[in-house]
């Protein structure tokens, strides 16, 4: 299986004033195509930093990052933006939909930055919204949708560009457990039926257990646990 994400000995530290905070220490981490992997850790463990680095939102200080086999350590800001647009799909705890835009226009946002718009974009957005069960809410604004519905729209936005990997940061954190489980079921389905590669960051053991594999991060160091395939 080809590796989509391959971090080799990646370190990240922040300097605040005179103190240097080592957030990640020589982390090795990889995600293969079709993986459903969870990153588990307490707050301050460095799991968000890891996700930001994987998602090309943040840069590491040392080590190597291969995305689809290509080293991206030397990419500049504009190249990273393009790469993010083409290979990453983000799902956030707080959904982060643009309140002004309807569901379909929110989903179309990544396509816009790819130069896809008009009828073609609408077709793609409708298809993906149907896939996440939001077909009847195309022209609803986020304020007219429930939390679970908003997260489904956000997942559609993450998937619409057919990214290499979907990065979900506490995707169920703002939802009650029943709705949270529905969202988790959607991730599992997408992984199973469409071989979507998904990385979920969570502190919820129950969510982690539903993934094929769990990586535990503590004090910037990674321990690996393999739960095996639950299916």
């Amino acid at each position: 299986m080809s590796l989509i994400i391959d971090l080799k000995s990646v370190s990240k530290s922040y300097t605040i004033g005179k103190t240097t905070l080592q957030v990640l220490q020589q982390v090795d981490f990889s995600v293969a195509k079709g993986d459903l992997v969870s990153i588990v850790g307490s707050s301050g463990s460095g799991k968000s930093t890891l996700m930001n680095i994987i998602g090309l939102l943040d840069r590491h200080n040392s080590g190597e990052y291969y995305l689809n086999g290509t080293a991206v350590d030397q990419y500049d800001e504009a190249q990273l933006a393009t790469l993010r647009n083409q290979t990453m799909g983000f799902v956030f705890q707080q959904f982060f939909l643009l309140p002004r835009l309807t569901a379909i226009n929110n989903v179309a946002l990544p396509l816009l930055y790819r130069g896809i718009r008009g009828k073609q974009a609408n077709k793609m957005c409708e298809a993906i919204l149907e896939r996440v069960g939001m077909k009847d809410y195309l022209n609803h604004k986020p304020s007219e949708l429930s939390g679970g519905q908003q997260q489904r729209v956000a997942i559609a936005r993450a998937l619409v560009g057919n990214p290499s990997v979907v990065l979900a940061d506490e995707p169920t954190g703002a939802l009650d457990s029943k709705i949270g489980q529905e969202v988790m079921d959607l991730f599992v389905q997408l992984n199973r039926d469409e071989a979507a590669t998904i990385v979920i960051i969570t502190h919820d053991q129950h969510i982690a257990k539903q993934c094929n594999r769990t990586v535990r991060i503590k004090d910037g160091l990674i321990n690996k646990y393999d739960y095996g395939n639950i299916n």
């Binding site: 647009n85 983000f90 946002l109 130069g115 560009g161």
Partner: protein, 393 residues
């Protein structure tokens, strides 16, 4: 992302916060409006004044002749002056004249009149039309004939003279026979006397009235678009030859218009500067509102960056929005400014016309203001770190 999409996004953003956008637009509107109104108003005033001058004839040149020393030099002769026309091709026609002062009366009743000794050419050069009789001709030479202005004819009418032709006026110690009556004559900046209040006599007879009568002025009609400066030089040169002690003073429409235009231009510039201050204040308003907008939309910026917007995309997003506000304000401001200048023109009694320059300048300056004041907020927006803005609160 392409510009058309950016504009659509900007439009949606502007619509979504109507009151705030309205305030930003208002600032630019007032600024652009005042620039356009003031500059248009200035130009309308200039056009009005120029039109008044053009009606007088922009092709006229007045020459005043002053003697430096008295007696010693020979008098300037009519023949010498009339010869200028043949030597300087730019002179189409010319009329020397002298003004003499003495009492004028009709049957013992005094009449207020200027006495102008001149040549037949005067009629054409300063455009005198006659209601009766004829103008002086070159065959009148030393004949005591005169043409009277409209107001003199009126004062004669008060004395019961309905047809003044062939009546005799006493001018000094001599009698002059009226041979013509002029129509109402419009004042002319290049002719020193009011024809309506004048008696025009053959220039040779002026000597009979006053021994000191001499050619003191020449009014010339030039070819259209003549090089006035060159013509003046040529006249100076000719005079050097004819009588070197004469000092010449020129008065041309070009001179008058030039000095007036430069005054007006200064005024217009001043007005434009005052308007620009309003425009800058408007620009600061746009910057202020855009800065607030950047802070408010921090999360949106983070989201956009996460889905693949580059810093350049973000910068353009906000820049286009600032420009859109300015363009909107600029367009409305141009309309308001033109309307204001229309009102000014109506009240001042000027003829209203639309000059292309002020609206164009107003519009493009407002766009430039939008770019200038929109750049900093847009730059700030582009620098925002998506990690910071996407942190869950």
């Amino acid at each position: 992302m392409n510009w058309w999409l950016q504009i659509q996004e900007a439009y949606a953003n502007i619509i979504s916060s109507k009151l705030r956008s309205f305030l930003a637009v208002l600032g630019i509107l007032v600024g652009t409006g005042s620039v356009v109104a003031m500059v248009s108003g200035g130009q309308l005033a200039t056009a009005h004044a120029l039109k008044q001058f053009s009606e007088l004839g922009t092709d006229l040149l007045a020459v005043s002749v002053m003697s430096n020393s008295s007696d010693s030099t020979p008098e300037l002769s009519t023949q010498d002056v009339m010869a200028l026309q043949k030597k300087i091709p730019a002179i189409v026609n010319e009329a020397p004249y002298s003004t003499v002062y003495t009492d004028v009366s009709y049957q013992g009743e005094k009449i207020q009149a200027n006495i102008i000794g001149s040549v037949p050419e005067l009629q054409e050069v300063v455009q005198i039309t006659l209601s009766m009789g004829r103008f002086i001709s070159r065959y009148d030479n030393y004949e005591p004939y005169c043409v009277i202005g409209k107001e003199i004819a009126e004062s004669l009418r008060k004395q019961g003279i309905k047809n003044p032709l062939n009546k005799q006026l006493r001018v000094g110690s001599r009698y002059y026979t009226i041979i013509g009556v002029a129509n109402d004559w419009k004042e002319n900046a290049f002719f020193n006397n009011d024809i309506n209040k004048s008696l025009i006599i053959p220039i040779n007879t002026a000597k009979f009235i006053s021994a000191h009568a001499s050619i003191s002025n020449i009014v010339m009609k030039l070819v259209e678009y003549a090089n006035i400066d060159l013509v003046q030089q040529q006249i100076e040169k000719e005079f050097q030859r004819i009588s070197s002690d004469k000092q010449l003073f020129f008065r041309s429409a070009k001179q008058l218009i030039d000095s007036m235009t430069s005054q007006r231009n200064t005024l217009t510039l001043l007005l434009a500067l005052i308007g620009s201050i309003a425009l800058i204040v408007g620009g600061i308003g746009v910057m202020n509102i855009m800065l607030v907008s950047v802070v408010e939309r921090r999360r949106e910026i983070g989201i956009r960056k996460a889905v693949g917007a580059s810093s350049k995309d973000i910068r353009e997003l906000f820049l286009v929005e600032a420009i859109a506000l300015s363009v909107l304000g600029g367009l409305l401001g141009v309309l308001v400014g033109l309307f204001t200048s229309y009102i000014i023109a109506t009240f001042a009694g000027w003829q209203f016309e639309i000059f292309l320059l002020p609206p164009m300048v107003g519009f493009f300056v407002s766009v430039a203001v939008g770019i200038f004041f929109g750049f900093y907020p847009a730059y700030k927006a582009s620098l925002l770190d998506p990690i910071q803005t996407l942190r869950a609160d």
